[in-house]
């Protein structure tokens, strides 16, 4: 189902969490709400779920006004950062919860639970308690629980935020594949631009309660609407008063027209990628991202004087 957010505002005391936000999410898509903490992304997700009531504005799910409905009547699946597992229930009972509430026949519940536990690779864990699972397993259980009732939309609030880096990467790829299988309209909140870029089809950048930009990962990287988006979705460096991507800075060893003179302060080897930190003539510092091969070709060394030029058609604001 599509989600439409119309002019939604929400304050907590003096703090403006959402400042007249409007957004449209296509049926069956996978959207990321990206932004710094306090930017309003979690509040927006909770407003869509009905866990927060907006001060003004409307939320439409599948074309119908959901604003006056309590969360239990919105048919949304919600996944929390800290899993919100029912600790006193087994994994199977957790997953079955929504179906039990809906008083479905026992056979149907058992079959559905089995199917979902297979989907999230937790078959064999049905009779364990959440305390006996790892973080990643608990979150997969929470996802199965949310999917059990076949929600119209699936909402995930920093779903991988509490997991360690390796598990997070695994689950990201897995969520992507899951979405290809299940096709439910999915919106997830993250503060990690890499996560948003890797998983989402559409990214919504939120900051200070306002939407800064909506676009595909590539749009955001190549055509950032403003400095905030540019800085948030990738590395930046400054040259001649412009914000640019550091891989768009070309290092030359000969003076060239239009190139600025700079001295190399430090060369940091990060494997294949090399980070060159430089001081410009006017005292400003900047940095360029290049490769090991290139550094060797140019025989760059610390203290050396070089000239910096922008690559053709750079991304800048």
């Amino acid at each position: 189902m599509s989600i439409v957010v119309e002019n939604v505002s929400k304050r907590f005391g003096d703090f403006v969490a959402l400042n007249g936000v409007s957004l449209s999410v296509r049926d069956g898509s996978l959207t990321a709400l990206l932004g710094p903490s306090g930017g309003g992304k979690s509040t927006l997700l909770r407003v869509i779920a009905g866990l927060e009531q907006p001060d003004s504005g409307r939320v439409l799910i599948g074309g119908e006004d959901a604003t006056p409905k309590p969360p239990q009547r919105r048919d949304v699946g919600f996944v929390f950062q800290h899993y919100a597992a029912f600790k006193h229930m087994t994994v199977a009972k957790n997953v079955a919860f929504g179906l039990t509430i809906r008083k479905r026949p026992k056979d149907e519940i058992d079959a559905r639970v089995k199917e979902l536990l297979e989907l999230v690779h937790l078959d064999g864990f049905a009779h364990r308690y959440p305390s006996q699972l790892s973080g990643g397993q608990r979150q997969r259980m929470a996802l199965a629980r949310a999917l059990a009732v076949q929600p119209r939309v699936l909402l995930l609030d920093e779903p991988f935020g509490a997991l360690d880096a390796t598990v997070r990467k695994e689950l990201r790829a897995w969520l992507r594949r899951l979405h290809d299988e299940v096709h439910v309209t999915t919106v997830f909140v993250t503060h990690d631009q890499e996560e948003a870029m890797e998983v989402a089809e559409q990214i919504v950048v939120l900051n200070h309660g306002d939407i800064e930009q909506v676009g595909t990962p590539r749009d955001l990287y190549e055509k950032p609407a403003n400095e905030f988006v540019m800085r948030f979705v990738g590395p930046v460096s400054e040259l001649s008063g412009r914000w640019i991507r550091p891989h768009d800075v070309e290092i030359l060893t000969e003076p060239t027209e239009g190139a600025s003179e700079a001295q190399i302060d430090r060369i940091v080897h990060l494997g294949f990628e090399v980070r060159v930190e430089l001081s410009l003539g006017d005292g400003d510092s900047t940095w360029a991202q290049t490769t090991r091969t290139r550094v060797e070709e140019l025989e760059l060394s610390e203290g050396q004087i070089v000239w910096l030029r922008l690559e053709s058609a750079p991304v800048s604001v």
Partner: protein
């Protein structure tokens, strides 16, 4: 190493002096004329009635205070309203106010001649003071805070996410309470119930003021103990004390038996 033993010795010694030795002496004195005499002393009609009345106190006060305690804890932790802090502080009043004062306060409200609503109730055939209802009220008052105090920290600790998850899964408020919240706080409630029961079993001061102490009529087990003691029936007093102590002990034991292992969340 030595300080470790010193600490244990101190803790155990303190407990022995305050609790162990006096309670042991009660047991010894109860049976000084033999088990038969003790048995006879606690099976007289007056004694049986006293234990029956104590049972009534517990069976009414504990469920009511449990329901109130859970609702009150929910209001204090989950809701924001004016007077929330006041409610939270008021609940502790029975801890602070002496039971005798509670008894006198009940007299002022329900007294048959001079009470606030006592005369009106008396006209309608309801007698509170010198009767079971007043004693139940006194017991409820003194045992009020236990469930609230045990449940509040547990509610705070579990947070609201499980309840929100239940809501998004289609559960209404009542379903969420019975399927998610209540199971999550059950050990807090259970511990509160045990403490409430123990307090209701042992209440003396407030009940003493409102009961009128009519032997075989408005005499609970604790009042029976005092009555026997005043009449130099030491066997009766100590034997009834032993029964009370055993009841409290069984209550605590039951609690420990049903309590889950620490490892299982």
């Amino acid at each position: 190493m030595r300080s470790k033993y010193a600490l244990r010795f101190l803790a155990l010694g303190y407990l022995a002096l305050l609790l162990g030795i006096p309670v042991a002496l009660v047991f010894i004195n109860a049976f000084q004329d033999g088990i038969g005499a003790a048995w006879d002393a606690v099976t007289t009609p007056e004694a049986q009635h006293a234990f029956w009345l104590t049972f009534i106190m517990v069976i009414v006060a504990v469920p009511l205070n449990t329901i109130f305690g859970v609702l009150c804890a929910l209001a204090v932790v989950r809701q924001r309203f004016r007077g929330r802090a006041l409610l939270n502080a008021m609940v502790d009043l029975p801890f602070a106010v002496s039971p005798v004062v509670v008894g006198l306060a009940l007299l002022l409200v329900y007294g048959r001649r001079d009470g606030w609503i006592g005369p009106w109730l008396d006209d309608h055939g309801v007698q509170v003071i010198f009767s079971t209802p007043g004693m139940i009220l006194a017991t409820m008052f003194v045992s009020l805070p236990f469930v609230v105090r045990e449940v509040i920290p547990v509610l705070r600790e579990i947070g609201t996410e499980q309840e929100q998850a239940a809501a998004t899964l289609g559960a209404n408020k009542l379903q969420t309470f019975f399927r998610v919240t209540l199971p999550a706080i059950r050990w807090g409630v259970a511990y509160g119930v045990v403490l409430t029961t123990a307090r209701a079993l042992g209440e003396f001061g407030a009940v003493s003021v409102v009961s009128g102490k009519l032997s075989g009529q408005t005499e609970t087990a604790t009042l029976f103990v005092e009555n026997r003691f005043q009449r130099f029936d030491e066997t009766g007093a100590y034997a009834a004390s032993v029964v009370l102590a055993l009841l409290a002990f069984v209550t605590l034991l039951a609690m420990n038996l049903i309590k889950p292992k620490e490892s299982q969340g």
